[in-house]
Symmetry: C2
Subunit: 133 residues, 2 copies
C-alpha cells in the first residue's frame, strides 16, 4: 500500500467510525503523541486530545451521525504529513473538510479536522484530484 493509499484508507476509517458511532475506533485513529486539534462547524477550536475526543464522544452519540457520507477525497502528502480534503453530507447540510494526518509509529494518525459548511452540495471539477508532493 502506498502512502497515498494508506492516508486515504485512514480517512475512510475516520468516516466509517463516524457513521457507525464507534468511539473506540475513532479514538484509535487520532494521534497519541502529536498535538491534536479540531474545528467543528459553528464551534470554537479545540486543542488537546482530551477535549477533542470528548467532542467526538458527543458527536458520535448524536443520532444524525449515522447519516454521514463523504465523497471525493483529495489527498495531498508532504513527507510525514498529509491532508485529505473531502466533502461531507448529512441530512440537512454539506460541508467541505480538511483532515490532517501525521506518520506516527508507521501509521497515519489524525491530528486535525476542520469542517466548513458549504452552500452547495456538489464539489467543483477539481474534486477528483489526487496529488502528492
Amino acid at each position: 500500500m502506498t502512502d497515498r493509499e494508506a492516508v486515504l484508507f485512514a480517512n475512510e476509517a475516520f468516516y466509517l467510525a463516524f457513521q457507525t458511532g464507534d468511539f473506540d475506533e475513532m479514538d484509535r485513529l487520532w494521534a497519541t503523541k502529536a498535538t491534536v486539534s479540531c474545528i467543528h462547524p459553528g464551534w470554537h477550536h479545540l486543542v488537546g486530545r482530551d477535549v477533542v475526543m470528548e467532542s467526538w464522544e458527543g458527536i458520535l452519540n448524536h443520532p444524525e451521525s449515522s447519516n454521514m457520507q463523504f465523497r471525493d477525497p483529495v489527498a495531498i502528502q508532504h513527507d510525514d504529513f498529509a491532508m485529505v480534503i473531502c466533502y461531507e453530507f448529512l441530512t440537512n447540510h454539506a460541508a467541505v473538510a480538511t483532515n490532517c494526518f501525521v506518520r506516527e509509529d508507521n501509521a497515519w494518525q489524525m491530528v486535525h479536522h476542520q469542517a466548513t459548511v458549504t452552500p452547495t452540495t456538489r464539489p467543483g471539477p477539481q474534486a477528483s484530484n489526487t496529488t502528492q508532493h
Copy 2:
C-alpha cells in the same frame, strides 16, 4: 528565532498581506514546491498554486479585505509541518481559520488555508494556547 516564532511570524505576514492588499507579498508567502490548497468560506476547495493565487488576487482586490483582523493565534508544530489556528474578524463576520505551513528552503511557507465562519466573536478559553510537538 525559534521555529514556533518563525511560524507565528509567517502567519502574521499572511494577515498583513491580506490587510494591505499586497498580492506580491501574498504570492511570496505561499509554497512554490509543495502542493497548495485553500478553502475560503462558502467556496469549494481549490488545489494548485494557479487557482489558489487567482483566488487571493480577487479577495485582495475586495475593499473589505483591508478590515481583516486576526487574533489569538495557536501554533502547533509537527517537525517540518506546522499549523496556526486563529480567529479572523471582518466587518460583518468572524471566522476560525487553520493556516498550514511547510519548511521549504529553510523558510515556513503556506500550503493550506481554511476558514470557517463562526457564530460568536470571541474565541474560547483555549485561544491563547501555544503548543509544540
